[in-house]
Assembly symmetry: C2
Homo-oligomer: 186 residues x 2
DNA sequence: TAGTCCATGTAATCAGTTACATGATTCG
DNA sequence: CGAATCATGTAACTGATTACATGGACTA
Protein backbone atom coordinates (compact mmCIF):
# COMPACT_ATOMS: atom_id res chain seq x y z
CA UNK A 1 0.00 0.00 0.00
CA UNK A 2 2.58 2.57 -1.02
CA UNK A 3 0.83 4.50 -3.77
CA UNK A 4 -1.39 6.61 -1.48
CA UNK A 5 1.67 7.53 0.56
CA UNK A 6 3.64 8.38 -2.55
CA UNK A 7 0.83 10.74 -3.50
CA UNK A 8 0.65 12.28 -0.03
CA UNK A 9 4.40 12.91 -0.17
CA UNK A 10 4.15 14.49 -3.61
CA UNK A 11 1.25 16.70 -2.54
CA UNK A 12 3.07 17.82 0.61
CA UNK A 13 6.08 18.75 -1.45
CA UNK A 14 3.76 20.76 -3.68
CA UNK A 15 -0.05 20.83 -3.99
CA UNK A 16 -0.98 19.73 -7.50
CA UNK A 17 -3.74 18.58 -9.81
CA UNK A 18 -4.05 15.01 -11.01
CA UNK A 19 -2.30 15.66 -14.28
CA UNK A 20 0.55 17.53 -12.61
CA UNK A 21 0.99 14.59 -10.28
CA UNK A 22 1.05 12.26 -13.26
CA UNK A 23 3.86 14.32 -14.78
CA UNK A 24 5.77 14.34 -11.52
CA UNK A 25 5.40 10.56 -11.38
CA UNK A 26 7.09 10.49 -14.75
CA UNK A 27 10.02 12.42 -13.34
CA UNK A 28 11.46 12.54 -9.86
CA UNK A 29 9.04 10.44 -7.83
CA UNK A 30 8.44 7.99 -10.63
CA UNK A 31 12.10 7.03 -10.63
CA UNK A 32 11.44 4.83 -7.66
CA UNK A 33 7.66 4.65 -7.65
CA UNK A 34 5.87 4.66 -10.98
CA UNK A 35 2.14 5.19 -11.50
CA UNK A 36 -0.20 5.89 -14.39
CA UNK A 37 -2.79 8.65 -14.46
CA UNK A 38 -5.60 6.14 -13.99
CA UNK A 39 -4.07 4.89 -10.77
CA UNK A 40 -3.50 8.43 -9.58
CA UNK A 41 -7.04 9.69 -10.20
CA UNK A 42 -8.52 6.63 -8.54
CA UNK A 43 -6.27 7.03 -5.54
CA UNK A 44 -6.96 10.77 -5.28
CA UNK A 45 -10.64 9.93 -5.03
CA UNK A 46 -10.02 7.46 -2.21
CA UNK A 47 -7.73 9.82 -0.34
CA UNK A 48 -10.31 12.59 -0.56
CA UNK A 49 -13.08 10.33 0.71
CA UNK A 50 -10.83 9.24 3.57
CA UNK A 51 -10.35 12.87 4.56
CA UNK A 52 -6.60 12.87 3.96
CA UNK A 53 -6.66 15.45 1.19
CA UNK A 54 -9.13 17.95 -0.23
CA UNK A 55 -9.67 19.61 -3.57
CA UNK A 56 -9.16 23.37 -3.35
CA UNK A 57 -12.61 24.96 -3.67
CA UNK A 58 -13.56 26.12 -7.13
CA UNK A 59 -16.76 27.31 -8.82
CA UNK A 60 -16.49 25.47 -12.12
CA UNK A 61 -17.90 21.98 -12.78
CA UNK A 62 -15.95 18.81 -12.15
CA UNK A 63 -15.25 16.99 -15.39
CA UNK A 64 -12.58 18.30 -17.75
CA UNK A 65 -11.83 20.97 -15.19
CA UNK A 66 -8.53 21.19 -13.33
CA UNK A 67 -8.76 20.21 -9.67
CA UNK A 68 -5.93 21.09 -7.28
CA UNK A 69 -5.45 19.01 -4.14
CA UNK A 70 -3.77 19.76 -0.83
CA UNK A 71 -2.99 17.50 2.14
CA UNK A 72 -5.03 17.85 5.33
CA UNK A 73 -3.74 17.31 8.85
CA UNK A 74 -4.98 13.67 9.08
CA UNK A 75 -3.17 13.00 5.81
CA UNK A 76 0.11 14.31 7.14
CA UNK A 77 -0.35 12.26 10.31
CA UNK A 78 -1.07 9.14 8.29
CA UNK A 79 2.11 9.69 6.29
CA UNK A 80 4.12 10.17 9.49
CA UNK A 81 2.74 6.91 10.83
CA UNK A 82 3.55 5.09 7.60
CA UNK A 83 7.13 6.37 7.54
CA UNK A 84 7.70 4.59 10.85
CA UNK A 85 6.41 1.26 9.55
CA UNK A 86 8.52 -1.80 8.83
CA UNK A 87 8.37 -3.60 5.50
CA UNK A 88 10.35 -6.45 4.02
CA UNK A 89 12.51 -5.69 0.99
CA UNK A 90 10.60 -6.47 -2.18
CA UNK A 91 11.26 -9.78 -3.78
CA UNK A 92 12.99 -8.83 -7.00
CA UNK A 93 11.20 -9.43 -10.31
CA UNK A 94 13.45 -8.80 -13.24
CA UNK A 95 12.44 -10.16 -16.66
CA UNK A 96 15.85 -9.49 -18.20
CA UNK A 97 17.72 -11.71 -15.74
CA UNK A 98 15.01 -14.30 -16.24
CA UNK A 99 15.43 -14.09 -19.99
CA UNK A 100 19.14 -14.58 -19.59
CA UNK A 101 18.62 -17.62 -17.46
CA UNK A 102 16.13 -19.01 -19.96
CA UNK A 103 18.71 -18.41 -22.68
CA UNK A 104 21.00 -20.60 -20.64
CA UNK A 105 18.80 -23.60 -21.47
CA UNK A 106 17.45 -22.77 -24.93
CA UNK A 107 20.57 -21.00 -26.21
CA UNK A 108 21.77 -17.40 -26.35
CA UNK A 109 20.85 -15.73 -29.63
CA UNK A 110 22.08 -12.56 -31.27
CA UNK A 111 18.77 -10.85 -30.53
CA UNK A 112 19.26 -11.34 -26.79
CA UNK A 113 22.67 -9.70 -26.92
CA UNK A 114 21.06 -6.89 -28.89
CA UNK A 115 18.46 -6.55 -26.15
CA UNK A 116 21.21 -6.33 -23.53
CA UNK A 117 22.83 -3.53 -25.53
CA UNK A 118 19.52 -1.72 -25.78
CA UNK A 119 19.00 -1.88 -22.04
CA UNK A 120 22.56 -0.77 -21.49
CA UNK A 121 21.85 2.36 -23.52
CA UNK A 122 18.60 3.06 -21.67
CA UNK A 123 20.27 2.78 -18.28
CA UNK A 124 23.19 4.91 -19.41
CA UNK A 125 20.76 7.61 -20.56
CA UNK A 126 18.95 7.59 -17.26
CA UNK A 127 22.26 7.71 -15.41
CA UNK A 128 23.26 10.81 -17.36
CA UNK A 129 19.89 12.39 -16.56
CA UNK A 130 20.27 11.73 -12.83
CA UNK A 131 23.77 13.17 -12.85
CA UNK A 132 22.39 16.28 -14.46
CA UNK A 133 19.83 16.56 -11.62
CA UNK A 134 22.65 16.13 -9.16
CA UNK A 135 24.73 18.85 -10.78
CA UNK A 136 21.74 21.19 -10.74
CA UNK A 137 20.89 20.40 -7.12
CA UNK A 138 24.49 20.97 -6.02
CA UNK A 139 24.17 24.58 -7.16
CA UNK A 140 21.25 25.18 -4.81
CA UNK A 141 22.00 24.59 -1.16
CA UNK A 142 21.21 21.41 0.69
CA UNK A 143 20.92 22.67 4.20
CA UNK A 144 17.50 21.31 5.13
CA UNK A 145 16.84 17.71 6.03
CA UNK A 146 14.51 17.50 3.08
CA UNK A 147 17.31 18.46 0.67
CA UNK A 148 19.72 16.02 2.28
CA UNK A 149 17.24 13.17 2.04
CA UNK A 150 16.40 13.92 -1.59
CA UNK A 151 20.13 13.96 -2.33
CA UNK A 152 20.42 10.55 -0.71
CA UNK A 153 17.63 9.11 -2.81
CA UNK A 154 19.15 10.58 -5.95
CA UNK A 155 22.48 9.01 -5.10
CA UNK A 156 20.64 5.70 -4.74
CA UNK A 157 19.20 6.12 -8.21
CA UNK A 158 22.61 6.93 -9.65
CA UNK A 159 24.32 3.98 -8.00
CA UNK A 160 21.56 1.66 -9.14
CA UNK A 161 21.87 2.76 -12.77
CA UNK A 162 25.61 2.48 -12.44
CA UNK A 163 25.15 -1.10 -11.30
CA UNK A 164 23.06 -1.88 -14.37
CA UNK A 165 25.44 -0.29 -16.85
CA UNK A 166 28.43 -2.03 -15.31
CA UNK A 167 26.75 -5.40 -15.07
CA UNK A 168 25.34 -5.22 -18.59
CA UNK A 169 28.78 -4.30 -19.97
CA UNK A 170 30.18 -7.36 -18.25
CA UNK A 171 27.39 -9.59 -19.50
CA UNK A 172 27.74 -8.40 -23.10
CA UNK A 173 31.51 -8.87 -23.00
CA UNK A 174 31.06 -12.32 -21.54
CA UNK A 175 28.53 -13.43 -24.14
CA UNK A 176 30.24 -12.01 -27.21
CA UNK A 177 33.90 -12.28 -26.31
CA UNK A 178 35.40 -15.58 -25.19
CA UNK A 179 34.10 -19.12 -25.20
CA UNK A 180 32.72 -21.19 -28.06
CA UNK A 181 30.22 -18.46 -29.03
CA UNK A 182 31.03 -16.30 -32.01
CA UNK A 183 27.53 -15.15 -32.81
CA UNK A 184 26.26 -11.56 -33.07
CA UNK A 185 28.27 -8.43 -33.85
CA UNK A 186 28.63 -9.17 -37.55
CA UNK B 1 3.84 -12.43 -18.75
CA UNK B 2 7.07 -13.78 -17.32
CA UNK B 3 5.87 -16.32 -14.78
CA UNK B 4 5.00 -19.05 -17.30
CA UNK B 5 8.43 -18.63 -18.88
CA UNK B 6 10.13 -18.73 -15.52
CA UNK B 7 8.37 -22.05 -14.91
CA UNK B 8 9.29 -23.42 -18.34
CA UNK B 9 12.93 -22.51 -17.67
CA UNK B 10 12.86 -24.18 -14.26
CA UNK B 11 11.24 -27.32 -15.68
CA UNK B 12 13.76 -27.52 -18.52
CA UNK B 13 16.59 -27.26 -16.02
CA UNK B 14 14.97 -30.09 -14.11
CA UNK B 15 11.49 -31.69 -14.32
CA UNK B 16 9.73 -31.16 -11.00
CA UNK B 17 6.45 -31.28 -9.13
CA UNK B 18 4.60 -28.15 -8.04
CA UNK B 19 6.01 -28.19 -4.55
CA UNK B 20 9.55 -28.73 -5.76
CA UNK B 21 9.11 -25.76 -8.09
CA UNK B 22 7.86 -23.71 -5.17
CA UNK B 23 10.99 -24.53 -3.23
CA UNK B 24 13.19 -23.68 -6.19
CA UNK B 25 11.39 -20.36 -6.47
CA UNK B 26 12.44 -19.74 -2.89
CA UNK B 27 16.05 -20.30 -3.85
CA UNK B 28 17.88 -19.72 -7.09
CA UNK B 29 15.14 -18.67 -9.48
CA UNK B 30 13.25 -16.76 -6.83
CA UNK B 31 16.20 -14.43 -6.36
CA UNK B 32 15.13 -12.57 -9.47
CA UNK B 33 11.63 -13.90 -9.99
CA UNK B 34 9.55 -14.75 -6.95
CA UNK B 35 6.29 -16.71 -6.95
CA UNK B 36 4.04 -18.37 -4.39
CA UNK B 37 2.78 -21.94 -4.62
CA UNK B 38 -0.72 -20.72 -5.53
CA UNK B 39 0.62 -18.86 -8.53
CA UNK B 40 2.70 -21.84 -9.54
CA UNK B 41 -0.11 -24.40 -9.40
CA UNK B 42 -2.43 -22.09 -11.28
CA UNK B 43 0.19 -21.49 -13.96
CA UNK B 44 1.06 -25.19 -14.23
CA UNK B 45 -2.59 -25.84 -15.00
CA UNK B 46 -2.61 -23.23 -17.76
CA UNK B 47 0.67 -24.45 -19.25
CA UNK B 48 -0.63 -28.00 -19.33
CA UNK B 49 -3.88 -26.96 -20.98
CA UNK B 50 -1.86 -24.98 -23.55
CA UNK B 51 0.13 -28.11 -24.39
CA UNK B 52 3.47 -26.65 -23.28
CA UNK B 53 4.06 -29.16 -20.48
CA UNK B 54 2.60 -32.47 -19.37
CA UNK B 55 2.32 -34.34 -16.11
CA UNK B 56 4.30 -37.57 -16.20
CA UNK B 57 1.74 -40.38 -16.38
CA UNK B 58 0.81 -41.95 -13.06
CA UNK B 59 -1.89 -44.33 -11.85
CA UNK B 60 -2.82 -42.65 -8.57
CA UNK B 61 -5.54 -40.01 -8.18
CA UNK B 62 -4.87 -36.31 -8.54
CA UNK B 63 -5.39 -34.49 -5.29
CA UNK B 64 -2.77 -34.75 -2.55
CA UNK B 65 -0.69 -36.85 -4.90
CA UNK B 66 2.65 -35.70 -6.25
CA UNK B 67 2.57 -34.74 -9.94
CA UNK B 68 5.79 -34.34 -11.89
CA UNK B 69 5.84 -32.12 -14.98
CA UNK B 70 8.09 -32.04 -18.01
CA UNK B 71 8.32 -29.55 -20.88
CA UNK B 72 7.03 -30.57 -24.31
CA UNK B 73 8.47 -29.44 -27.63
CA UNK B 74 5.96 -26.58 -28.12
CA UNK B 75 6.89 -25.37 -24.63
CA UNK B 76 10.56 -25.23 -25.48
CA UNK B 77 9.76 -23.43 -28.73
CA UNK B 78 7.61 -20.91 -26.89
CA UNK B 79 10.46 -20.24 -24.46
CA UNK B 80 12.90 -19.78 -27.32
CA UNK B 81 10.54 -17.29 -28.92
CA UNK B 82 10.13 -15.40 -25.65
CA UNK B 83 13.88 -15.17 -25.08
CA UNK B 84 14.15 -13.20 -28.32
CA UNK B 85 11.49 -10.70 -27.29
CA UNK B 86 12.11 -7.09 -26.38
CA UNK B 87 10.79 -5.62 -23.14
CA UNK B 88 11.26 -2.25 -21.47
CA UNK B 89 13.14 -2.20 -18.18
CA UNK B 90 10.67 -2.35 -15.33
CA UNK B 91 9.73 0.91 -13.72
CA UNK B 92 11.26 0.62 -10.28
CA UNK B 93 8.96 0.39 -7.26
CA UNK B 94 10.86 0.63 -4.03
CA UNK B 95 8.96 1.39 -0.82
CA UNK B 96 12.10 2.08 1.18
CA UNK B 97 13.26 4.92 -1.06
CA UNK B 98 9.71 6.22 -1.03
CA UNK B 99 9.66 6.11 2.76
CA UNK B 100 12.89 8.03 2.84
CA UNK B 101 11.51 10.69 0.56
CA UNK B 102 8.37 10.90 2.67
CA UNK B 103 10.58 11.31 5.73
CA UNK B 104 12.07 14.28 3.94
CA UNK B 105 8.78 16.13 4.38
CA UNK B 106 7.41 14.77 7.65
CA UNK B 107 10.76 14.33 9.40
CA UNK B 108 13.25 11.49 9.80
CA UNK B 109 12.60 9.49 12.97
CA UNK B 110 14.76 7.04 14.87
CA UNK B 111 12.53 4.18 13.74
CA UNK B 112 13.29 4.91 10.08
CA UNK B 113 17.04 4.74 10.72
CA UNK B 114 16.41 1.48 12.54
CA UNK B 115 14.54 0.21 9.49
CA UNK B 116 17.49 1.16 7.26
CA UNK B 117 19.80 -0.83 9.54
CA UNK B 118 17.47 -3.80 9.40
CA UNK B 119 17.44 -3.75 5.61
CA UNK B 120 21.19 -3.36 5.58
CA UNK B 121 21.49 -6.57 7.60
CA UNK B 122 19.06 -8.45 5.34
CA UNK B 123 20.92 -7.43 2.20
CA UNK B 124 24.26 -8.27 3.76
CA UNK B 125 22.96 -11.74 4.65
CA UNK B 126 21.76 -12.34 1.12
CA UNK B 127 25.07 -11.10 -0.23
CA UNK B 128 26.92 -13.62 1.91
CA UNK B 129 24.59 -16.37 0.71
CA UNK B 130 25.20 -15.50 -2.94
CA UNK B 131 28.94 -15.45 -2.41
CA UNK B 132 28.68 -18.90 -0.92
CA UNK B 133 26.87 -20.07 -4.07
CA UNK B 134 29.59 -18.49 -6.15
CA UNK B 135 32.32 -20.21 -4.17
CA UNK B 136 30.54 -23.55 -4.57
CA UNK B 137 29.95 -23.05 -8.28
CA UNK B 138 33.58 -22.11 -8.86
CA UNK B 139 34.58 -25.60 -7.66
CA UNK B 140 32.48 -27.23 -10.39
CA UNK B 141 33.43 -26.29 -13.91
CA UNK B 142 31.70 -23.64 -15.94
CA UNK B 143 32.39 -24.79 -19.42
CA UNK B 144 28.88 -24.88 -20.86
CA UNK B 145 26.99 -21.82 -21.95
CA UNK B 146 24.38 -22.63 -19.36
CA UNK B 147 26.96 -22.48 -16.54
CA UNK B 148 28.42 -19.26 -17.87
CA UNK B 149 25.00 -17.60 -18.05
CA UNK B 150 24.06 -18.72 -14.57
CA UNK B 151 27.36 -17.32 -13.31
CA UNK B 152 26.50 -14.03 -14.96
CA UNK B 153 23.10 -13.86 -13.31
CA UNK B 154 24.65 -14.71 -9.95
CA UNK B 155 27.16 -11.92 -10.39
CA UNK B 156 24.25 -9.60 -11.08
CA UNK B 157 22.63 -10.65 -7.83
CA UNK B 158 25.85 -10.09 -5.92
CA UNK B 159 26.47 -6.65 -7.41
CA UNK B 160 22.89 -5.65 -6.72
CA UNK B 161 23.12 -6.64 -3.04
CA UNK B 162 26.46 -4.88 -2.89
CA UNK B 163 24.79 -1.76 -4.16
CA UNK B 164 22.18 -1.93 -1.42
CA UNK B 165 24.63 -2.53 1.39
CA UNK B 166 26.86 0.30 0.23
CA UNK B 167 24.04 2.74 -0.33
CA UNK B 168 22.35 1.92 2.97
CA UNK B 169 25.65 2.40 4.83
CA UNK B 170 25.98 5.80 3.22
CA UNK B 171 22.38 6.71 4.04
CA UNK B 172 22.69 5.66 7.68
CA UNK B 173 25.94 7.57 8.07
CA UNK B 174 24.36 10.61 6.47
CA UNK B 175 21.28 10.57 8.67
CA UNK B 176 22.97 9.86 11.98
CA UNK B 177 26.32 11.58 11.57
CA UNK B 178 26.48 15.24 10.60
CA UNK B 179 23.85 17.94 10.39
CA UNK B 180 21.39 19.14 13.00
CA UNK B 181 20.14 15.58 13.66
CA UNK B 182 21.41 13.83 16.74
CA UNK B 183 18.63 11.30 17.16
CA UNK B 184 18.93 7.52 17.32
CA UNK B 185 21.95 5.43 18.33
CA UNK B 186 21.52 5.97 22.05
C1' DT C 1 -16.00 23.99 -37.25
C1' DA C 2 -12.66 20.57 -37.05
C1' DG C 3 -8.59 19.32 -34.74
C1' DT C 4 -5.55 19.21 -30.96
C1' DC C 5 -4.31 19.42 -26.41
C1' DC C 6 -5.38 19.67 -21.48
C1' DA C 7 -7.77 17.37 -17.99
C1' DT C 8 -10.56 14.00 -15.54
C1' DG C 9 -12.53 9.95 -15.41
C1' DT C 10 -14.83 4.65 -16.25
C1' DA C 11 -14.52 -0.30 -17.41
C1' DA C 12 -12.40 -4.52 -18.20
C1' DT C 13 -8.79 -7.34 -17.49
C1' DC C 14 -4.65 -9.36 -15.58
C1' DA C 15 -1.12 -10.44 -12.18
C1' DG C 16 -0.13 -11.20 -7.49
C1' DT C 17 -1.42 -11.90 -2.54
C1' DT C 18 -3.91 -13.80 1.37
C1' DA C 19 -6.74 -17.06 3.39
C1' DC C 20 -8.58 -21.28 3.43
C1' DA C 21 -9.70 -26.36 2.00
C1' DT C 22 -8.59 -31.15 1.09
C1' DG C 23 -6.27 -35.49 0.46
C1' DA C 24 -2.18 -38.70 1.21
C1' DT C 25 1.63 -40.36 4.01
C1' DT C 26 4.41 -41.06 7.88
C1' DC C 27 5.53 -41.56 12.58
C1' DG C 28 4.66 -41.73 17.56
C1' DC D 1 -5.67 -43.43 16.02
C1' DG D 2 -4.08 -38.62 16.13
C1' DA D 3 -0.81 -35.17 14.78
C1' DA D 4 2.46 -33.47 11.68
C1' DT D 5 3.91 -32.95 7.15
C1' DC D 6 3.81 -33.32 2.21
C1' DA D 7 1.21 -32.06 -1.60
C1' DT D 8 -2.33 -29.97 -4.52
C1' DG D 9 -5.69 -27.04 -5.03
C1' DT D 10 -10.04 -22.94 -4.63
C1' DA D 11 -11.81 -18.43 -3.61
C1' DA D 12 -11.72 -13.75 -2.65
C1' DC D 13 -9.41 -9.70 -2.91
C1' DT D 14 -6.08 -6.01 -4.06
C1' DG D 15 -3.08 -3.57 -7.12
C1' DA D 16 -1.67 -2.48 -11.73
C1' DT D 17 -2.37 -2.21 -16.71
C1' DT D 18 -4.84 -1.33 -21.00
C1' DA D 19 -8.38 0.59 -23.54
C1' DC D 20 -11.73 3.72 -23.96
C1' DA D 21 -14.97 7.91 -22.81
C1' DT D 22 -16.01 12.72 -21.88
C1' DG D 23 -15.61 17.55 -21.66
C1' DG D 24 -13.40 22.23 -21.92
C1' DA D 25 -10.24 25.61 -24.17
C1' DC D 26 -7.52 27.22 -27.83
C1' DT D 27 -6.37 27.86 -32.57
C1' DA D 28 -5.94 27.15 -37.75
Amino acid sequence: MSLPHAILTALLEKPSSGLELTRRFDRSIGYFWSATHQQIYRELGKLEKAGFIRALPTDSPTRGQRKEYEVLVPGREELGRWVGEQEEPRALRDPLMLRLRAAGVVGVGADLVEELRRHRALHAARLAEYREFQRRDAARGHGTERDRVQGLVLRGGIDLELFWVTWLDGAIADLTGPGPEGDSVP
